[in-house]
């Protein structure tokens, strides 16, 4: 299967790779997928005044999964939590030119964003 140039670019130069302290108050962590399925994404957001000021990810998965999560961190930086929660997997599919068999990678990235936001909100309900 041939990969799109954008997938290759994100795979070779992934943006925002790394880890925030999970316990920190301004961090939300989303961990989605399963090792047995061949993909696990961890996406983290750092929030200030309701806005995502920084994002980081690590992904175990195929090139399209790595690219989807790399792109997702780029997209959400600077967004409010509500804006980020609106992101749809189809935007990722379009941007990366993902073929049908790789759509689940974009779905996982959307799930990871939502899970990170939810984790942050849970921390701040207390």
């Amino acid at each position: 299967m041939a990969y799109s140039d954008k997938v290759i670019d994100h795979y070779e130069n992934p943006r925002n790779v790394g880890t925030f302290g999970k316990e920190e108050d301004d961090v939300g962590t989303g961990l989605v997928g399963a090792p047995a399925c061949g993909d696990v994404m961890r996406l983290q957001i750092k929030v200030k005044d309701g806005r995502i000021e920084d994002a980081k990810f690590k992904t175990f998965g195929c090139g399209s999964a790595i690219a989807s999560s790399s792109l997702a961190t780029e997209m959400i930086k600077g967004m409010t939590l509500d804006q980020a929660a609106e992101i749809k997997n189809t935007q990722i599919v379009e941007e990366l030119n993902l073929p049908p068999v790789k759509i689940h990678c974009s779905v996982l990235a959307e799930d990871a964003i939502k899970a990170a936001i939810e984790d942050y909100k849970k921390k701040h309900q207390r």
Binding site: A34, P35, G38, V40, M41, K58, F60, C62
Partner: protein
């Protein structure tokens, strides 16, 4: 690294196919342009020449496996040979029984043929091998009944390279019931390791040319004559191949197959030593990486010399293949298959799905060099390290978190 002397891309996927040996190609060429007769033409010199070439190739291929040229039936390849052996024997002997035994790690052309026979009313037992990939004689004889028509077991596995002790298996099968036929899919093993149809007490043996540096599109089914084994044909027509497989013979391909078998027989010993050393060099280089696991036994003599199937934990196989874009290898990862299921062979060994997703199959062959191995070791080590730095699972592992203790959500 001697990277400068290596020509890219590197082909290290010799279980999928092999390059035609230039000596094979040279032998084939006149049969396209000068000696282009139909081997079934009985009344002119073009036909006679073609027929003589085909008969010579029969003897060359049979000699590789200790058989007789008259026992060779030409086919289009291994898939057809396996179909013909199993469907042909099941149909011919159906009055004597309805039971077939095979193994979960067989090639799809055996597995899916058996599943079709199952739908048609045959009773099929799929044996699960040991964790190292080996099937023991006792597993087979325990599964045999007085209705067992055929036992089908491969000589060497196409993914993990594990070599079965077909001599011991054949002896056990025949001791339990001399009438039960023994079919061996020898496609990956023949020409690579010693194999003899009589020592293994085989009745039917499948072979393919393009796995042994011959052309694609031609294979053979060896069918024992003493005592005579019968099969019903799948393809009817002009009655070629003693009625077992009609259709005009692909003379140039058959000539190439014959030459490839002859070369394999002559060079097998030296080649196995050379490939075994290259494979061990590859293995030593890659096992510098922590958390790598070989799939299938590494016991000497129980694995094809050119095979290495290895899982790099916490790295997904397809993403690794992407990093190795100038190296042709394959992965047991789901993402590389249409089905999104990881390798059924590794699953049958009880390899966890996550390690199956992380597996890479290296297939070294006649044309690989030490420089290529060194280049690949260096590239794989760097790529695995890079991808592990990206992997949340690797980070958890480093932090001492047991991946299996986490409640994952399968999707």
């Amino acid at each position: 690294m001697s990277a400068t002397s290596v020509k890219l891309p590197i082909f290290m996927d010799n279980h999928s196919t092999t390059r035609v040996d230039p000596r094979v190609l040279e032998t084939m060429l006149p049969y396209f342009t000068e000696q282009y007769g139909n081997a079934a033409s009985r009344n002119h010199v073009f036909g006679w020449t073609a027929e003589a070439a085909v008969e010579h190739a029969r003897n060359q291929v049979a000699a590789l496996i200790g058989g007789d040229g008259k026992e060779i039936v030409w086919t289009s390849g291994a898939t057809e040979s396996n179909n013909l052996a199993l469907k042909g024997a099941a149909s011919f002997y159906k009055k004597q029984g309805n039971h077939i035994i095979t193994v979960e790690t067989e090639h799809k052309s055996v597995i899916d043929t058996c599943k079709r026979l199952q739908r048609e009313g045959y009773d099929v037992t799929f044996l699960r091998p040991q964790k190292d990939g080996i099937v023991t004689p006792q597993m087979v004889t325990d599964a045999m009944t007085d209705k067992t028509l055929v036992v089908s077991i491969m000589l060497a596995n196409n993914e993990i390279g594990v070599v079965q002790d077909v001599d011991a298996l054949g002896a056990a099968i025949k001791a339990k019931n001399p009438k039960t036929l023994f079919h061996i899919d020898a496609v990956q093993g023949a020409g690579k390791i010693p194999f003899d149809v009589n020592k293994s007490k085989a009745d039917l043996v499948s072979l393919s040319a393009h796995k042994m540096y011959g052309p694609k599109g031609v294979g053979a089914l060896w069918v024992r004559r003493k005592p005579r084994v019968r099969i019903d044909p799948l393809i009817d027509g002009g009655g070629h191949e003693r009625g077992m497989r009609s259709g005009t013979l692909a003379v140039p391909l058959i000539v190439g197959f014959g030459k490839a078998a002859e070369l394999a027989k002559e060079e097998m010993g030296a080649e196995a030593i050379r490939l075994g050393a290259l494979r061990d060099r590859l293995y030593r280089g890659l096992s510098k990486l922590p958390e790598t696991y070989v799939n299938g036994t590494m016991e000497s003599g129980r694995r094809l010399p050119g095979n290495l199937n290895i899982s790099f934990a916490f790295v997904e196989g397809e993403s690794l293949l992407m990093a190795l874009k100038d190296v042709a290898v394959s992965s047991g990862s789901a993402c590389t298959s249409a089905s999104l299921e990881p390798s059924y062979v590794l699953r049958a060994l009880g390899t966890g799905d996550e390690l199956a997703h992380s597996s890479i199959r290296f297939g070294l062959g006649r044309f690989n060099t030490e420089e290529e191995v060194d280049y690949v070791v260096d590239l794989v080590v760097r790529s695995v390290e890079k991808l592990r730095a990206l992997s949340p699972l690797w980070e958890m592992h480093q932090d001492g978190i047991d991946i299996n203790s986490i409640q994952w959500t399968p999707h």
